[in-house]
């Protein structure tokens, strides 16, 4: 079973190599076959692997494939570690990823960068698989950076629009801040333990770091990496702009890859985090704050995809909150269900956008219920799961998070924020659904029902509804939680909260037209729409001073010595090029003169 584990990341990586090198000369059919087939193949292999893993009793397996390099006492190997957490992750990545690939084949049909798109997409999946299978922090970091690179390439996929390039750069630079924190954490590990083997590091940390400050700093740095990649406070600003990419890319970034990397990282290194209780609290607080702020922002967005983007930030916030509270398995559970319904929502949004001639503004949508009934069904299921209504997958996972968090820490501030967030989530889900499918028809749609669009959506509908039934082999990964009694009132509040949001939304929709109008124009709503002004804050705090500094130092002082060298060699060149007059006889005379000089040296 373990022998062909390497093929799971290798298949998409190899296919991306072929597509990027030769894609321009291949027919669209071949590109589709290769691009979708490689990820489907990886999904099949993953399914076999997971089945074998579960039937073998869910014991973790470590596979050393190849030594990578060895230098100054640090030995790095290409090795894979496969346990329940990796199993869930590769299941989500390849499963949801292959559905998204299938959908992309229809969505991107006819685009001039078709092969390039699939090349990047495959690279993305391959890098993510490398990340979650890695046995070594450096290999994980390789996948981590690969994911960052692919997000840059894909967000800026339509590179002729300057705005897309800006969004891509922003995503790259902002996540880079987190990456540096992660790199610093890795350096500390090397310095302390002389190895980057994940399991060894965690084991030794638990033995040697118990009474030291190291867990605090390492966990803080790891958290820094995680918040960058997962778009949590304070590095969340890149994700809404990442909507510049094609819609399947958004689905891939938000559901299967990229943003879940941070959650995975914290879950993988829980052994270190558990040594630093203060950081665990910080994780929970970051998650809760993020989910609350992002939910408020999602409430007032006008752009369909930005609503979904903020909802992703918010849902990842839930996962962070759960991780911080210690409810690791609930976090991973939510990661999986979120992947299902968020992929569903994004792909359905893509279908709506295609049908509406690439219209994304919610204000120019409406009344699509009878015109796009299938999209309406998808959105209904997706929004219900997002709002955590009973009988959907989202219900079970969010319920688990809130219950377990309460059981572990009681009603802390973070918990109350998360509970309130659940209500707001239901409210914005309803708003999105109503804005899209009720009200007056603004733009007449041209339904797009190609089977490659419909089949992945239908499968994702099923998963979003029933995904909670998929068992997760996480028992051996995370320590089981002590069963705690949760008051019935709390349980009731958790159950009632989404309905509260729904009822409020329905009432506002039915009766509060004037109120909504005034609210939309209020300063608070404008602030929320701009993501609580974080962009403006960072712009004023970091970007502008930096630009000012750059402008002041336009004639770089440090460059002057270098430029002097350039000037000097320029002069020497001008002087020497006089001799290069192209006259054959002068050259011959030069040779003769050289002979005379040499002989003169010999004679004297």
């Amino acid at each position: 079973m373990t022998a062909w584990m390497g093929w799971i990341p290798a298949l998409p990586l190899f296919s991306s190599l072929v597509l990027l090198l030769l894609g321009g000369r291949m027919s669209a059919r071949l590109v589709t076959l290769l691009g979708v087939g490689s990820v489907l193949g990886a999904a099949l292999l993953s399914a076999l692997l997971i089945a074998g893993f579960v039937s073998a009793g869910s014991t973790a397996v470590s596979v050393m494939l190849q030594p990578w390099f060895s230098s100054a006492g640090l030995t790095i190997a290409f090795g894979f570690y496969f346990d329940g957490l990796s199993a869930v992750m590769i299941g989500v990545i390849t499963g949801v990823g292959s559905l998204i690939h299938l959908y992309s084949a229809a969505y991107m049909a006819g685009d001039e960068g078709y092969a390039r798109f699939f090349g990047y997409l495959n690279l993305f999946v391959g890098a993510m698989l490398l990340l979650v299978l890695a046995d070594d922090f450096l290999l994980l970091y390789l996948g981590w950076e690969g994911v960052g690179l692919c997000s840059f390439l894909l967000i800026g996929f339509w590179y002729r629009e300057p705005a897309n390039g800006y969004a891509a750069r922003k995503a790259f630079v902002v996540t880079r801040i987190g990456d540096i924190a992660l790199a610093a954490a890795l350096l500390i590990m090397i310095q302390q333990f002389g190895t980057l083997h994940i399991q060894t590091v965690i084991e030794r940390a638990q033995l040697e770091w118990v009474a030291t400050d190291w867990p605090f700093w390492v966990a803080l740095l790891l958290l820094g990496g995680a918040v960058g990649k997962s778009a949590q406070l304070p590095l969340q600003t890149w994700l809404p702009d990442a909507m510049a990419g094609p819609t399947p890319v958004s689905a891939l970034i938000h559901a299967a890859t990229m943003v879940t990397a941070g959650v995975y990282l914290i879950a993988r290194t829980q052994g270190i985090f558990l040594l630093a209780p203060r950081i665990m609290e910080l994780v929970a607080l970051v998650g809760a704050l993020t989910l609350f702020l992002a939910a408020c922002s999602a409430l007032v967005q006008h752009d369909l995809k930005r609503v979904l983007a903020y909802s992703t930030i918010s849902q990842i916030g839930y996962m962070f909150f759960a991780l911080g509270a210690g409810a690791f398995s609930a976090a991973i559970f939510h990661l999986m269900t979120h992947a299902f319904f968020k992929a569903l929502l994004f792909l359905a949004a893509g279908q709506v956008i295609l049908s509406l001639h690439h219209e994304q503004d919610l204000r120019r949508m409406g009344g699509l219920l009878h015109r796009l009934p299938f999209s309406a069904l998808c959105f209904a299921i997706g929004c219900a799961a997002l709002a955590a209504l009973p009988l959907t997958s989202g219900f079970y996972s969010k319920d688990a998070i809130l219950l377990q968090a309460y059981g572990l820490h009681g009603g802390s501030l973070a918990w109350w924020l998360a509970l309130t967030g659940a209500g707001i989530t239901a409210l914005y889900s309803l708003r999105l659904f109503l804005k899209l499918f009720f009200g007056e028809v603004v733009t007449e749609p041209r339904p797009d029902m190609r089977p490659t669009l419909v089949v992945p959506l239908a499968l994702l509908c099923l998963l979003a509804l029933l995904g909670a039934l998929i068992p997760q082999p996480l028992g051996a990964v995370f320590a089981p939680l002590a069963a705690t009694e949760v008051p019935a009132a709390v349980h009731g509040a958790i159950l009632i909260m989404p309905w509260l949001g729904l009822v409020t939304g329905a009432l506002l929709w039915r009766y509060g037209r004037g109120l909504r109008q005034r609210w939309n124009d209020s300063a608070l709503a404008r602030g929320w729409r701009a993501g609580w002004g974080f962009d403006a804050l960072y712009d004023g705090l970091l970007v502008r001073p930096l630009l000012l500094l750059a402008r002041l130092n336009r004639k770089d002082l440090a460059d002057q010595p270098v430029q002097f060298v350039a000037w000097l060699s320029g002069c020497a060149h001008a002087w020497l090029s006089i001799t290069q007059n192209g006259r054959l006889r002068r050259y011959a005379a030069g040779i003769a003169m050289g002979a005379v000089l040499v002989l003169m040296v010999v004679t004297l």
Partner: protein, 170 residues
């Protein structure tokens, strides 16, 4: 014998002088052949009959005939002679002449007191040269044949008529 040697050396140098001062290419070429013949005679007197024969057959014969062909093909005529005469003005001579005189002086200074022993001097006939060529110098013979082949290909390539290349501005 000795006198003959000095005489041929004198003839060779005079003819060489006429080569580099000549204005008519055909005349210059004939003077060059005279130089080569004189050198061939000197080879013979140095006890190198094989080299002398090659000098006459290949140098004075084949190579010079090649040059004659080219000169005749170009067919420059009288205008070229006038141009040559104009190019051979006095001023152009000073620098090169000075340079060559210095070089000659240096060579003479270095060579004259050499006083090489010539006791074991002996005539080397064609048999000895052939044994050397196809014995220890086998590889050089092969290399020389490669060189000739390359020259053949190169000359053929260079003299092809221009068909696809644009004509350079004059």
């Amino acid at each position: 014998m000795q006198l003959l040697f000095y005489l041929s050396a004198l003839i060779a140098l005079l003819a060489a002088w006429r080569v580099i001062r000549g204005v008519n290419a055909v005349h210059a070429l004939l003077y060059l052949i005279v130089t080569l013949l004189a050198i061939a005679l000197m080879f013979f007197m140095l006890g190198a009959p094989f080299a002398a024969a090659l000098e006459v057959i290949i140098y004075a014969g084949a190579i010079m005939v090649l040059m004659v062909f080219v000169i005749m093909m170009l067919n420059q005529g009288d205008s070229a002679v006038g141009q040559e005469r104009a190019w051979l003005s006095g001023r152009i001579w000073r620098g090169p002449a000075l340079l060559c005189a210095v070089l000659l002086a240096q060579l003479g200074y270095l060579l004259l007191p050499a006083a090489l022993a010539s006791g074991d001097a002996a005539a080397v006939d064609a048999v000895a040269v052939g044994r050397a060529l196809y014995g220890p110098y086998m590889l050089l013979v092969e290399l020389a044949s490669m060189l000739l082949l390359a020259a053949l290909v190169g000359a053929w390539h260079l003299t092809r008529a221009l068909k696809h290349r644009p004509r350079e501005e004059g």
